[in-house]
C-alpha cells in the first residue's frame, strides 16, 4: 500500500493509474497516453503541484565587480563568426536587463537545464531583455557548434551565443567568481545585469520564479522594461 502523502491534485490521475495498472495494463497504457494527449491539446503539461521543501536558488547582488569584469578586454565571437567585445555588448544593452549564463555545448547535466530555462523565458522577454550564453569550452565550441546549439534550443534573436579565447573567458569567470578548474564541475549560475548593477542567481529556479525575480530586480534598480523606441 502506498502512502500518497504529498501528492498534488493533478497527480490523482496518476495515482488512479498506478493502483490499477496490474489488472488493466493495456487499458491504462492507453489512459496514460490519453492523459498526455489531452493535456497537450488543452495546453497543460504534467507538473508538480508540490512546493519543494528546500530553496532551489539564492540570489544576491554582487558589489563592485561589474566594472572590473565588463569594462576590460574580453573578445568574443558570436554564432555567426562575428567578433565583439564583451564591454561593447554590455554597453549596447544599457537600457535593458541582460541575463547571462556560462554553458558549453557538450555539457550533459547542468547546461541543458540552464538553457531550457532561457528557452522558456525568452518568449516573455521579447523586447524586454537580452539573453547571453557564453561558452566555457571555447576551443571545442566554435561558431558552428553554437549555431547548432542555438537552433536546438529554439533561440530567438534576442538570445545570443558566444565563444572566444580560452584565457579571456577564464579570466572573466574568475572575476565574477564562477571559475571551476574542470568544466565538468560547472555550477548553475545565472547573472542579471541591470542599470549598472550585477545580480547573481545560484541554482535552478522555475520559470515563474525567474520572471518574478527579474521583476523585483527591475523595481529595485528602477529600470523600465518597456521596449525602447
Amino acid at each position: 500500500m502506498y502512502r500518497w502523502k504529498i501528492v498534488g491534485q493533478r497527480d490523482l490521475c496518476a495515482v488512479y493509474a498506478v493502483k490499477n495498472s496490474l489488472a488493466k495494463q493495456r487499458l491504462l497504457s492507453v489512459l496514460f497516453s490519453g492523459l498526455f494527449l489531452i493535456l497537450a491539446v488543452l495546453g497543460i503539461e504534467p507538473s508538480d503541484a508540490v512546493e519543494p521543501n528546500k530553496p532551489r536558488y539564492q540570489i544576491r547582488e554582487i558589489q563592485n565587480t561589474l566594472d572590473e569584469a565588463f569594462t576590460q578586454k574580453v573578445s568574443l565571437i558570436d554564432a555567426n563568426g562575428g567578433a565583439v567585445q564583451l564591454s561593447d555588448l554590455v554597453a549596447e544593452h544599457r537600457q535593458q536587463p541582460v541575463i547571462m549564463q556560462f554553458i558549453f555545448t557538450s555539457c550533459a547535466n547542468v547546461c541543458p537545464v540552464m538553457s531550457t530555462l532561457l528557452r522558456a523565458v525568452q518568449k516573455d522577454l521579447v523586447g524586454k531583455a537580452q539573453l547571453i550564453s557564453i561558452s566555457i569550452d571555447p576551443e571545442f565550441d566554435d561558431s558552428n557548434k553554437l549555431q547548432d546549439y542555438a537552433k536546438k534550443f529554439d533561440a530567438q534573436p534576442h538570445w545570443r551565443f558566444f565563444t572566444g579565447e580560452l584565457n579571456d573567458i577564464i579570466r572573466l569567470q574568475k572575476q565574477i567568481d564562477v571559475y571551476q578548474q574542470n568544466k565538468m564541475r560547472h555550477q548553475p549560475v545565472t547573472f542579471f545585469l541591470l542599470n549598472q548593477r550585477l545580480f547573481r542567481l545560484d541554482g535552478l529556479p522555475s520559470k515563474e520564479d525567474t520572471l518574478a525575480e527579474l521583476d523585483k530586480m527591475l523595481e529595485e534598480t528602477q529600470l523600465s522594461v518597456s521596449s525602447p523606441g
Binding site: K5, I6, V7, Q9, R10, D11, L12, C13, A14, Y16, V18, L22, L27, S29, V30, L31, F32, G34, L35, F36, I38, L39, L42, E45, P46, S47, D48, V50, P52, K54, R56, F104, S106, C107, A108, N109, V110, P112, V113, S115, T116, L117, R119, A120, D137, F140, F153, L166, Q180, Q181, N182, K183, M184, R185, H186, P188, L204, S206, K207, E208
Partner: protein, 562 residues
C-alpha cells in the same frame, strides 16, 4: 482547480476507446523492448518515435530532444557526482534492489572526488529506500515520488510516459551496470587480474615499439607492486580507502601486433580478442587506425589515445578517444592560417603516392575549397613510391613564388637543400612537424630558415606545462631510455588516465562509465606536458584542439650554439 482536474480525468475515460483505436494504428516501430528503452534513455524518444514531453523545475516545458535520461544519469546509468547537481546512479542493480546507506555505498561516492560541499552533503544525505519495480519507476518519472513514497527534488524532471516505453525503459535500465561476477571475464575483468591490450600495426619499427613497451612495463611493474603491498596490509590507509582494496587487481597488458595489409586486421583482432578479452585498449601506434577504430566500436571496447596521424574523424565514435584529429586537424589549421593571409601564392601539395600524406592533401583541398570567398588555388605534386628526391627535384620548385605544403616523412624532408639563399620572391614552405617527427628529432640549427613554417600540434618549445619535467623525471627514475619522447610521454599519459579512471571506478566495471570518467579527468591536470592544452567533455573524442603555425626560427632549440 480540483474541478478542472476531475474534468480531465473523466475526459480521459470518455476518450479511451477512441485512443485505443488510434494507438493500435501507430504500433511501435522498434523491434524490441530493449531498443525502445535504449532509444528513450539516450534520445528521449517514445516508443512511437515522438519526443517525450518533459517538465523541469516544476514549470519549464521541454522535450526529449533537449533533455533525456542520459543527459543527467549518463549513458552508463551511473549518474554524475561531479557537476553542480548530484545525480544518483540508476543502474539495474542499484535501482531494482533495496538501497541501504551502508558504509560502502556512501564511501564509494565519497571516494571519488566529489567536489562541491553541496554534492558532498547530498552524498551523506542518501537515505534508505525500497527497491523499485516497473510501477514505482513509472511513478518516480511521471510524478517524482521515489520508491519510499518520498518526494524527489525538482532537479529530477517529470516525464510523460506511455506503457510501451515504460516497459522498454525497465528492460533497458536492468541491463545497465548489470555486470555480475560471471560475466566480468567477458570484458577482461578476472577475479585477480584486469586485462588490457595495446595494438601495433606493421609499419611501426621495432625501436619505436620497444620504447613504448618500456614505459608500459615500468608503469605496470610499479602499479602491480603497489597493489600487492596494499592487499597485504588491508588496513594500511586511514578512513575508507582500505574498504576498496578488494576491487584492485593486477594489471596485465597484452601486445597485439598486427601483420599484413589492413584488410587482414579485423580477423587478427577478432582472434586476439577471442583468446583474451580485455577491458580496454591502451595507446599503441599505427599509421592507419580505421580498422582498429571499427573493431573497438563494434565490441564496445574503449580504445584510448593511440599514436596515429589518421584518427577516424568523419564520425566521432563512442569508444575511441584520440589525442587530436591528427592530420585532419593539421590541414584544418593550415587552411585557416592561409585564408587569414592577404596574399597567398598558389599552393602546391607535395606527397608520396599511397602515403598518409596523400590523405592529408585531400583534407587540405576540402577545407580550401569549402570557403567560397577563398581565392587560393591548389595543385598536387605526387612522388612515386620508387622516386628518389634530391637537389634536381627541389631547386626548380624553390625558385618559384609558390606555397609549398610538404606532407612528407623525415627521410624525404631531409633531402631538402639548404634554404639560406632563398628570398621573398621565391617559395614559402609549410611542413607537418608531426610527419617529419620533429618532436623526437630536432633539425640542426641552421636548418630553421624563415622560409620554412611548421604545423605544430604541441606546446610551444620552452613554454611546455610543468608536468613535462615531472614526466621526464619519472622516466629517468624508472630507467626508461627516452628514445621516442613523443610516443613515450603519450603512453605515460594514457596510463595515468586509466589509473585515475580505475581508481574512481572501484568495483563498478562498466566500460561506458570508465569513458565518462575519462571525459571528465582529461583536463590539463593530466596533460603530460607535450600539449598546450587538453580537455574532453561528454562525447568529445579529441583532446587537443589547437595547433600553431610556427615560423622555423621560433623553434631553434635553446641549448644550441647558433
Amino acid at each position: 482547480m480540483f474541478l478542472r482536474e476531475s474534468l480531465i480525468c473523466s475526459m480521459i475515460k470518455a476518450t479511451t476507446f477512441l485512443l485505443l483505436l488510434f494507438l493500435d494504428l501507430s504500433k511501435p516501430t522498434l523491434a524490441n523492448d530493449f531498443q525502445i528503452g535504449k532509444r528513450f534513455y539516450e534520445k528521449g524518444l517514445l516508443a512511437d518515435s515522438t519526443p517525450v514531453s518533459v517538465i523541469l523545475q516544476g514549470d519549464i516545458k521541454a522535450n526529449g530532444h533537449l533533455i533525456n535520461c542520459a543527459s543527467c544519469h549518463r549513458s552508463s546509468g551511473y549518474g554524475d557526482g561531479e557537476g553542480g547537481n548530484y545525480v544518483p546512479p540508476i543502474t539495474g542493480p542499484v535501482l531494482f534492489n533495496e538501497y541501504a546507506p551502508e558504509r560502502q555505498h556512501i564511501f564509494r561516492n565519497l571516494y571519488q572526488d566529489v567536489q562541491t560541499p553541496a554534492t558532498r552533503a547530498q552524498v551523506h544525505d542518501l537515505k534508505q529506500r525500497a527497491a523499485y519495480n516497473e510501477q514505482l519507476l513509472n511513478r518516480a518519472i511521471t510524478s517524482g515520488i521515489n520508491s519510499d513514497d518520498e518526494q524527489l527534488s525538482l532537479s529530477m524532471p517529470r516525464f510523460m510516459l506511455d506503457k510501451a516505453t515504460l516497459k522498454g525503459l525497465t528492460v533497458y535500465l536492468k541491463s545497465l551496470g548489470a555486470q555480475n561476477l560471471d560475466s566480468l571475464p567477458k570484458i577482461g575483468v578476472e577475479p585477480d587480474i584486469l586485462h588490457f591490450a595495446t595494438i601495433f600495426t606493421p609499419d611501426v619499427n621495432p625501436a619505436e615499439k620497444a620504447a613504448i613497451m618500456a614505459v608500459f612495463n615500468a608503469y605496470l611493474k610499479r602499479k602491480n607492486f603497489n597493489t600487492i603491498a596494499a592487499q597485504k596490509k588491508p588496513n594500511y590507509s586511514s578512513g575508507y580507502k582500505s574498504d576498496f582494496v578488494y576491487a584492485q587487481r593486477q594489471w596485465q597488458l597484452h601486445e597485439w601486433q598486427l601483420t599484413g595489409s589492413a584488410e587482414q586486421w579485423p580477423k587478427q583482432l577478432a582472434a586476439f580478442y577471442q583468446a583474451k578479452s580485455v577491458f580496454s585498449v591502451l595507446g599503441g601506434k599505427g599509421q592507419r587506425w580505421q580498422a582498429i577504430h571499427d573493431f573497438c566500436e563494434q565490441r564496445s571496447l574503449p580504445c584510448l589515445f593511440p599514436n596515429t596521424p589518421l584518427p577516424v574523424t568523419a564520425k566521432a565514435g563512442e569508444y575511441t578517444l584520440y589525442f587530436s584529429k591528427g592530420l585532419q586537424g593539421e590541414a584544418d589549421s593550415l587552411a585557416t592560417h592561409l585564408q587569414s593571409l592577404d596574399d597567398v601564392s598558389p599552393v602546391v601539395q607535395i606527397y608520396r603516392a599511397n602515403s598518409v600524406g596523400e590523405v592529408a592533401a585531400r583534407f587540405l583541398d576540402n577545407r580550401l575549397s569549402k570557403k567560397q570567398s577563398s581565392k587560393i588555388t591548389s595543385s598536387d605534386l605526387i612522388i612515386t613510391e620508387q622516386q628518389r628526391l634530391g637537389a634536381a627535384f627541389w631547386e626548380p620548385l624553390l625558385a618559384q613564388k609558390k606555397t609549398l605544403v610538404l606532407w612528407l616523412d623525415r627521410d624525404d624532408f631531409d633531402t631538402l637543400p639548404s634554404l639560406s639563399s632563398i628570398n621573398l620572391q621565391q617559395a614559402s614552405i609549410f611542413v607537418s612537424a608531426s610527419l617529419i617527427d620533429l618532436k623526437n628529432k630536432p633539425l640542426s640549427p641552421q636548418r630553421y630558415n624563415k622560409a620554412l613554417s611548421f604545423i605544430w600540434p604541441w606546446a610551444l618549445p620552452n613554454h611546455e606545462p610543468k608536468r613535462l619535467y615531472r614526466a621526464r623525471a619519472w622516466m629517468r627514475s624508472r630507467g626508461v631510455p627516452m628514445t621516442h619522447e613523443l610516443e613515450q610521454l603519450n603512453t605515460f599519459f594514457v596510463l595515468n588516465v586509466v589509473d585515475y579512471a580505475m581508481h574512481d571506478l572501484l568495483d563498478r566495471f562498466s566500460r561506458e562509465y570508465s569513458i565518462e570518467i575519462i571525459e571528465r579527468i582529461t583536463e590539463n591536470a593530466l596533460n603530460p606536458g607535450l600539449y598546450r592544452s587538453m580537455s574532453l567533455g561528454p562525447k568529445q573524442r579529441f583532446a587537443v584542439k589547437k595547433y600553431s603555425i610556427l615560423n622555423a626560427p621560433l623553434l631553434i632549440p635553446e641549448n644550441s650554439n647558433r
